[in-house]
Amino acid sequence: MEALNLMPEILFYIISGMVLVSSVMVVASRNPITSAIFLVVDLFFVAALYASLGADFTAAVQVLVYAGAIVVLFVFVIMLLNLKPEALRGFRFTVGEALVLLITLTGFVIIATELAHAPPDIASPGNLGAAAIELAGGNTFVVGMRMFTAFLWPFEIASVLILLAIVACVMVAKKDKKSGLKGHIQSSGGN
């Protein structure tokens, strides 16, 4: 029975390990499609991590939106541009990439320190434990209630954000109204 009590922790380390391995593979693989598929695996295991913490809704949305929608777009773009591994250079940092890495690391440090100094009710499950959430009507319900009361404005602003994204992507994909969609991406050898 001791092993059973340890199971969540063992599970956590296994899943985290998978997340880390697949993340490294996303960056390290030479073929863009391989990267995309490892990204799917990665996002799937992140969802598993959420699920193991009792955040069912977040886990489902993680798979639905990230693994099932956003990476589909990546795959389409890779197919669209038909990137070949040989067309891509290997590991060499440009200034921009170094900057991105720096910003990411800074963000990571900030979040980590914030979490370390956060009041205990955020850092530890405490009053938001699995049993409490179950009693309140389940994870989806609790998230929904919070979203439509405390976080109403972010929710409404999200709609404007989505609207902007819609307009932007149509603007990019479709230059002018008369000529219809610019059928194909122009490049050497393209049809």
Binding site: L4, N31, I33, T34, I37, V40, D56, F57, A59, A60, V61, V63, L64, A67, G68, A69, V72, V75, F76, M79, G138, N139, T140
Partner: protein, 377 residues
């Protein structure tokens, strides 16, 4: 534990249950294993059976004979053994991997087609709770609070099987077919998702088991509570599984066979398995959400339990009922395939984006307003 030499294997097996401490956890574990084994065993029988039906039924419709030769000695069983023969042949065929194919993804694509279908099949409630030695055992392999979203999320992963298959084959027909199929699948996923929102509004839960329990009588069935949802769902069912009239991906006349042009032998069978299992799952989902699932029409569950004297017999009746309802939808799949001609691709996409999407959204808003007026005064 003393394992004497005189203990036979059967005696050892019989003594096993006494060695285990039976609590909710161990019972759940054994129940999971048994349910899962039965479900997988059943699902693996589906493709041969359905292939046979799908050849016999159109033969009936078109006044042909269909397969009727293969059998054991003089028993021909209406050609039922044809599927068995086909399966054996498929498995022992030479595998032809085209030159220039991306080896890893060529082998991986069928995997991506198979596992989402099986995973979703596990979330369907196949019957009311069993009662074994005082332990309640729900008749779905996994029961989740986010049932609907889980099903939508996992089935959205099936796109990768299709797009990888086309991309890895190094064949332009495959690539075009896979791009068409995946664009079609994602386009119809939105109306599919939206068609289920009114159901959540009406029953107030995402848990499929609870939705079935709420559909106690005919008037509470989803199809009468949300008829537009059912229509949208029905259309999306065909599009999501790439079946006629939406089988643009394998438009034989122009794309040879779509994304699985370059697939043969057991890998081709794997695509078949994925397609038929997801057809079955969507049929079960339609029956569960819109036609009362395992509920027997006109006879409430309590009456059956009282008549049969045991919830287990009622559960059996429930499973039969669900399978009956699901087979109706499987029949609709085949019926429609041999009735309606194929769409053109631009028609398909504009149906999805210009008709289904606004109708789906209007359906959500309309249902919400009606329900709000009824419930909140």
């Amino acid at each position: 534990m003393n394992l004497g030499v005189d203990l036979t294997f059967l005696e050892f097996l019989a003594s096993l249950p006494a060695l285990v401490e039976w609590n909710d956890f161990t019972v759940g574990l054994v129940a999971f294993a048994v349910k899962f084994a039965i479900l997988v065993g059943g699902l693996l029988q589906l493709p041969p059976l359905l292939v046979w039906i799908e050849r016999r039924v159109p033969a009936l419709m078109q006044r042909r004979r269909g397969p009727n030769r293969v059998g054991f000695f003089k028993w021909r069983l209406y050609g039922l053994m044809q599927s068995l023969a086909d399966t054996i042949k498929l498995i022992f065929k030479e595998e032809v991997v085209p030159d220039g194919a991306h080896k890893v993804f060529y082998h991986l694509a069928p995997v991506f087609c198979v596992f989402p279908a099986f995973l979703v099949a596990c979330a369907i409630p196949y019957g009311p709770d069993l009662l074994v030695f005082g332990h309640k055992i729900p008749l779905s392999v996994v029961r989740l609070d986010v049932g609907f979203l889980f099903i939508l999320a996992i089935s959205s992963l099936a796109v990768y099987g299709v797009s990888l298959a086309g991309w890895a084959s190094n064949n332009k027909y495959s690539l075009m077919g896979s791009l068409r199929a995946s664009a079609q699948m994602i386009s119809y996923e939105i109306p599919l998702g939206m068609s289920l929102i009114p159901i959540v509004l009406i029953y107030g839960t995402l848990d499929l088991g609870k939705i079935v329990e709420a559909q106690t009588s005919l008037i509470h069935w989803g199809v009468f509570a949300a008829p537009f949802s059912f229509m949208i769902f029905l259309i999306c069912m065909f599009a999501e599984t790439n079946r006629a009239p939406f089988d643009l991906a394998e438009a034989e006349g122009e794309l040879v066979a779509g994304f699985h042009t370059e697939y043969n032998s057991a890998k081709f069978a794997a695509f078949f398995l994925g397609e038929y299992v997801s057809m079955f799952v969507l049929s079960c989902l339609a029956a569960t959400v819109f036609f009362g699932g395992w509920q027997v029409p006109f006879v409430p569950y309590e009456t059956i339990v009282a008549l049969a004297g045991s919830p287990n017999i009622a559960a059996l009746a429930g499973i039969m009922m669900l399978l009956l309802k699901a087979s109706f939808f499987m029949w609709v799949y085949i019926w429609v395939r041999w009735t309606l001609p194929r769409f053109r691709y631009d028609q398909l996409m504009s149906l999805g984006w210009k008709f289904m999407l606004p109708i789906g959204l209007a359906n959500v808003v309309g249902t919400a307003v009606v329900l709000a007026v009824l419930r909140f005064k």
